[in-house]
Structure formats: C-alpha cells, structure tokens
C-alpha cells in the first residue's frame, strides 16, 4: 500500500534530507508533502527534488510558517483535502534564539514554543479531528531537551516539552496502532545549530543526512522493531 508523508521544516537540513530519502529510497512512500516558509532555498530544493526523484513520486508543497496558527490551520485543511490521509508525519521544523535568561524576551519564548511544541501538537490534533490515522509520527526533539544548556533556556525547555509530549502521544494514539517516535539528535550541522553554536566547524559534527537515514529507517518495514520513548543520535 502506498503512503503519504508530511515533513515540516522541509526546505533544508534534516527536513530536506528526510524528504529526499523518502522520495529516493522508500518502497512505499509515493507522496511527500513539504511544509516550509517561503524562501529561495525552498523553491530551489523543490525544483531539484522534482527533477531528481524517481518517476511516480509526488511532491506537494505549502509555504507555511508553522508558528503561525492560522496559516498552519489553512495549510493542513488544504493538504488534507488534496491528499487525504497522512500516514507518516515528521515534525521537524524548529526555531531558536539562544540568549541568557536575563535577556530572554517572553515573546521570543512564546515563538519558540509555537514552532517547536504547539505546531506539532496542532498538526496532530487537527488531522486526528479529521479522522486521520497516522502510522508513524516522528517528533524531532534534541539532546538539549534532555539536559538543559546554559544560554539555551527557551530552546531546551521547548525540546523537553517535545520529549514529554511524544510520550503522551505514544500512549493516546496506541488505540489507532500509531507509532510515535521521539528523536533527539545531538550536534547536527543545520542552520539552527549555526545559531546555537556559530563558532563551531560544521564539518566536524553529524550531518543532516545522517539523522535523515535514521528517520528513513523508522519509516521502513524494520522501523517497527525500533522502539524507544526517546532515541538519541549523536556523533
């Protein structure tokens, strides 16, 4: 049976590499919905994927800032109408603005929570309310959600929430047979990581495609044998 996947934050980094692996390597994922904010990077990535993907693979895109509830709601309504059931969801979109506690603004904390925590919740809830039955949900957390890091209060707190929220989703969605996996990558060479650690040489740390390979495995037939409340991948 063919499957449809939805990946948020799909314009670059882990989201883009996950989309690429789904399109190129998966035996049964034939449609991938990409959510990302409008950008030249996103357009270029979609164009490249469309020209390189095997015949029969479908790419559907929506320009959406998942932190904007109204546009997220609208994008989900339109995608649900177009593709029907979303079988695999990868909640990857992330935001951070690392500043010390004394300098953290509540508005920025709220934005961090909106993108990192509320958006995955809203996507899952809205689709469930439409009768969507997920086979697999992958929530991307972070090792910073396991141990808080100095200077990263808002990001660490939001990712801790993702880890805990995933545990609840896992229990509540068991009645549908949905697998919920929380994945906590360590240092990965993404744009977000550059914001967190601008002085770091990205070639020395884990690459987005490494994390994407792990996500691809979750979505593959052997993925159901990998079972953990929070899987850590680090170099």
């Amino acid at each position: 049976m063919t499957k449809t996947a939805l990946v948020t934050g799909a314009s670059r980094g882990i989201g883009l590499e996950t989309t690429r692996r789904f399109l190129h390597n998966s035996e049964d994922i034939t449609t991938v919905v990409m959510f990302a904010r409008k950008s030249d990077d996103f357009d270029a990535a979609v164009e490249e994927l469309r020209s390189s993907s095997p015949v029969g693979r479908k790419i559907i895109t929506r320009y959406v800032d998942v932190g904007d509830r109204d546009s997220l709601h609208e994008a989900l309504e339109s995608v649900h109408g177009e593709v029907g059931n979303i079988d695999i969801l990868v909640n990857n979109a992330g935001y951070t603005n690392p500043v010390p506690l004394q300098q953290a603004e509540i508005e920025d904390f709220e934005k961090t929570m909106s993108v990192n925590v509320y958006a995955p919740f809203l996507i899952v809830k809205q689709l469930l309310n439409h009768g969507n039955e997920f086979k697999l949900i992958v929530n991307i957390a972070s090792t910073a959600g396991i141990n808080g890091r100095s200077g990263w209060l808002t990001y660490s707190a939001s990712k801790a929430a993702v880890i805990n929220m995933s545990q609840v989703m896992r229990e509540e969605l068991a009645i549908y047979g949905t697998r919920v996996v929380c994945l906590s990558p360590g240092r990965t060479a993404t744009a977000l990581r550059r914001t967190l650690a601008p002085e770091e040489d990205p070639s020395t740390i884990m690459q987005p495609e490494h994390v994407a390979r792990v996500i691809e495995t979750f979505a593959s037939p052997v993925g159901r044998f990998i079972d953990s409340e929070n899987i850590v991948v680090r170099q």
Partner: protein, 228 residues
C-alpha cells in the same frame, strides 16, 4: 451490513464516579472511545446507535466529534434499564442484522467484531468458559439448593449479534410477559430462537469497579513495560 447498538447509558455508581462511567478516563481517554474507535474500523458496521445518559448528550457528541467517528451515529436517550434501552434503540437500527456491545467493555477488539460477523449463525454471542463453580442458592435462607454442571455454563460477553426480527420478537414477548432480562442472548434463546456462541476473550471484561478500571489500564499499557 450491521447496525451496532452501543450501550452507553449506565451511571457509574459502583465505580464511585460523579459522571457516567463511559466518560470516565481510562489511560486518559474516555472509556467510550475505545469501543467507538474499534467499531469505526469494522467495514461491515455502517451504523452506530448510541445511547447516552440523560443530560450527557453534549459530552457524548463532543467525543464523537473530537475522535472523528466517521460511521454515522444515531443518538438515543438511555432508558431506565439496559433491557429497556435495547428495546428503545432497536427501532432506530436501519439494517436487518444488529450487533450489541457496551462501552463498559473497552478492551474489545476489531477481531472480536469480525469473528462474530463471520459466524454462519444469525444469533451469536461471545462467551467464555467459567473457571469457577457457580452454586444455586436460596438468598433468603442462605442455603445451597443444588449443583450446576460447569461445562453446561458460559460467561456471557458482548459483543453479540442478532437478526433484528428475532431480537424485536424477543423484546415484544418479554414486554408482554412483563419480564426484564439483564442481557439479550438468553432473552432471545428463551423466546425460542436459536442462539449460538463463539469463544470470547478473558481480557474483554466489563469495567464495573475501580479495580476493573485499574486492571483495564494495566492491560492497555504499552507492551514494553512488561519487558525484562
């Protein structure tokens, strides 16, 4: 196709709750949801007739909406007893064959429904062997009055399926005789219609007491919690 009569009208007096026990939470989810989600997945059930305790219609409608139950649902206010509720729900069934289940058995599986539907007989109940001895007694004198053959007895479970005509006939006769039954397999059989049974499951028990609620929660835990 089948109409499912889903009994959902009881107030959880024995469970010590202030709300209907079907809206009580089991692992954080209203008990009613477990049966609804399973029934919603059974292709041959194309109608659910669901009753609700008086004043709890809104709560039940909210559950149906939030959990996106796509099978059409007909809501009927609960009667004074289980017997009268079934009698009141039957005329709302649009199919010639009906299945009866109760929300207080949240561990029912899609397979339970499908096994029932697959049976060649029209009137069938899930039942399990009895692993203990049942004694006939005189409740007034506290005297044991005889002995029952355990092999000849079964623990009656739900779901059950019936020909709607047979079930209606049985209820009409019971009303005529002013008799009230606690379940429908024996009612239909006593009326003279043939009723068969298939093997039920020991986990498909009725959640009646706080202990039952805890046991059901235990059985619904993710399996890895039992790992070494």
């Amino acid at each position: 196709m089948y109409s499912l009569i889903l009994l959902n009208g009881g107030i959880g007096a024995r469970i010590g709750a202030n709300e209907p026990k079907q809206l009580l939470k089991l692992r954080g989810i209203p008990i009613l949801v477990y049966s609804l989600v399973m029934a919603n997945r059974v292709e041959k059930i194309d109608q659910i007739v669901l009753n609700y305790p008086p004043e709890w219609k809104e709560g039940v409608e909210e559950v149906l909406r939030d959990y996106a139950i796509s099978t059409p649902v007909t809501l009927v206010e609960a009667g004074d007893s289980r017997h009268s509720s079934v009698a009141a729900m039957l005329p709302h069934c649009t199919n010639d064959d009906v299945i009866i289940h109760e929300a207080a058995r949240p561990l029912v599986t899609k397979r339970n429904f499908e096994d029932l539907i697959a049976s060649e007989h029209s009137n069938v109940s899930l039942m399990t062997p009895i692993s203990f001895t049942v004694a006939p007694v005189d409740p007034e004198t506290h005297e044991v009055t005889g002995s029952l053959e355990r092999d000849q007895l079964r623990n009656v479970q739900l779901p059950q399926k019936f020909s709607k005509a047979d079930l209606q006939d049985a209820h009409a006769k019971a009303e005529q005789d002013h008799k009230v039954y606690t379940e429908d397999a024996t009612l239909v059989a006593v009326t003279g219609h043939s009723v068969h049974f298939i093997e039920g499951s020991d986990v498909n028990f009725k959640v009646t007491t706080p202990t039952d609620l805890r046991m059901a929660g235990f059985l619904l835990r993710p399996e890895e919690e039992d790992d070494d």
